[in-house]
């Protein structure tokens, strides 16, 4: 009897520990949202949100009329993210199909760890790779490319998110019921036709989720763009230009000599919440798609 009571106490204790660690993640998220929004609210009391989201000028240091047009920074973020997506989606998807449909177990044994290694490279290393290896190579072809540019930062960021896209897509393709592939082969379809006309469309929701997660990762990436994309606020979608992304601005300003509580200080949180909204929307979309997928196969 005694031991049973003992077990019950133990159970309760472990349950409590598990609950605590679960609530810790929620509390952290709530705390971050609270800090972001409370500082942003006092920012928006001084700078109208309309100006913030529509002005095309980013000139926070202008003495008479500081301008906070987040579009300028957003254009930098979107440019680098778009380039990264253009790199990661075709390569990641091809890899996923190859791994799920074509490759034998031996090749898989080599490629999988290599991909995981790609995901484990510190982003600061990626950043310097872009700046001191990739940029000089691209410059051989386009000599007018500035040293700090969106193109090479975007490409390297794309390489960084390939593992996210490929491994999640591969899982999605693998989880397509076997019967679909067999039916396709039975009708005389080739491997290629089965892969791209049956499996990929059937796994499209999972693939979309993988792409969205990759994009979310690219939007929030800081180190690579801070090192290789430049620090020049520039309203442009030109990949050959120097840009300043939202994350670069945050990192730069936070490491400078900004007075605590000043409008500049608060602007870090205002652009931060803009970024947060973007990733939140992307997460919501992927959440919605995931839910739909579950219904499809049940």
């Amino acid at each position: 009897m005694k031991s049973r009571a003992n077990i019950r106490v133990k159970e309760k204790f472990i349950e409590g520990l598990l609950f605590l660690s679960a609530s810790l993640t929620i509390l952290t998220t709530v705390g971050i949202i609270w800090v972001l929004s409370s500082e942003s609210i006092s920012f928006f009391q001084e700078i109208s949100p309309l100006d913030f989201f529509t002005s095309t000028e980013w000139a926070p240091s202008n003495r008479e009329a500081p301008k906070y047009g987040v579009l300028v920074l957003l254009s930098g973020t979107l440019t680098t993210t778009a380039i990264a997506t253009l790199v990661a989606v075709p390569i990641g998807l091809t890899l996923a199909v190859y791994l799920a449909v074509y490759s034998g177990p031996t090749i898989r044994k080599w490629i999988k760890p290599a991909l995981e290694l790609l995901a484990a490279v510190p982003t600061v290393v990626y950043g310097y790779f872009a700046l001191s290896v990739l940029t000089p190579i691209i410059r051989e072809v386009f000599p007018t490319l500035p040293l700090f540019n969106a193109l090479s930062a975007g490409i390297v960021m794309g390489i960084m998110i390939i593992p996210i896209v490929s491994s999640l897509s591969e899982d999605a393709i693998r989880s397509v019921p076997k019967t679909l592939a067999e039916a396709s082969y039975g009708l005389g379809a080739t491997k290629f036709q089965t892969a791209f006309k049956v499996l990929v469309p059937a796994a499209s929701s999972g693939i979309t989720v993988s792409i969205i997660l990759g994009i979310a990762r690219a939007i929030g990436e800081t180190m690579i763009v801070a090192i290789a994309a430049g620090t020049k606020p520039n309203l442009t979608f030109n990949p050959m230009g120097s840009v300043m992304t939202i994350t670069t601005y945050m990192a730069e300003t936070a490491s400078g000599d900004v007075e605590f509580g000043s409008i500049r200080y608060k602007s870090i949180f205002a652009v931060g919440i803009t970024l947060f909204l973007f990733t939140l929307i992307l997460n919501l979309i992927s959440f919605y798609i995931k839910k739909r997928v579950r219904n499809e196969y049940e």
Binding site: W58, L147, F148, M223, F260, I268
Partner: protein
Amino acid sequence: MINCIKIQVMKVLNKIAALGLVALLASCGSSSSEGEGLSGKVSIDGSSTVYPITAGIAEYYGEENDNVEVLVGVSGTGGGFKKFCIGQTDINDASRPIKDKEIAVAEENNITYQQLSVAYDGIAVVINPANDWVDHITTEELQNIWKSDAGADLKWSDIREGWPEEKIQLYGPGDASGTYDYFNEAILGKELSCRNDYNASENDNMLVKGVADDKYALGYFGLAYYEENKETLKVAPVKDGENAPVTPSLTTVMDKSYSPLSRPIFIYVSSEAIKKAQVKSFVEFYLENAAEVSKKVGYIPMTEEEYTAQKDIFQSFCK
């Protein structure tokens, strides 16, 4: 979410870098010894420009005075004065003299204080080594380059006749740094604003890389950084008004001929604070060792007479 964490991490990394520097200094040994069993706290805040010197001094001082806790914060000159003028801190690091507004706050709180110069800081205007057309640059030309309405497509030929018809690529510190404030005050004055469309970074290494890479680039940063990167950069002598162009160096900053891009940096100490024996001894120690430490962390020491003068000022303030 990740970004917030990253910023924290970067801040911590910066701190660690600063500590590393301090550790390096500490290992170099030091002169004069004072420790007479003092204890208590010395709280310091203020400019990030002055921070390396103060942190170095604090480390030296700590070696000889185990029981004195010296806390050095970095809230910026203005942020530091906010605390200093209501008596929260003993000493404020300042890269500019105190402003009237701040003086008013100090008076309201019955804080009397003394300004002490501890070293000089110089700004170097740098160009690419392949740049063979700039033999010197005038303060007026610098103003035309950096003012906010200079135009995004500003060419070298717009600045002086005979210079190439190529766009000037600009590199400089971000507007959150003390160097930025000082450069703009010296070059643009109080009326003009600085342009925003240039490559701005708080990381001087990025600026060095940028200017070293582009034949048509121009940038500026602390003289110490130029000295470290002499091989990859060229410095532009600056001509102020009718004076002859002057190349920045230890000598020209010390004899004040390199103007207006060199400035003294200060510490402020309050009369309330020096009643604490440890604060008084810390300031004396500071003035004694400022020359050595400022040289080590890349600033320019004042002359011996100037330090003696500062010591005299401090002694009479203590009376």
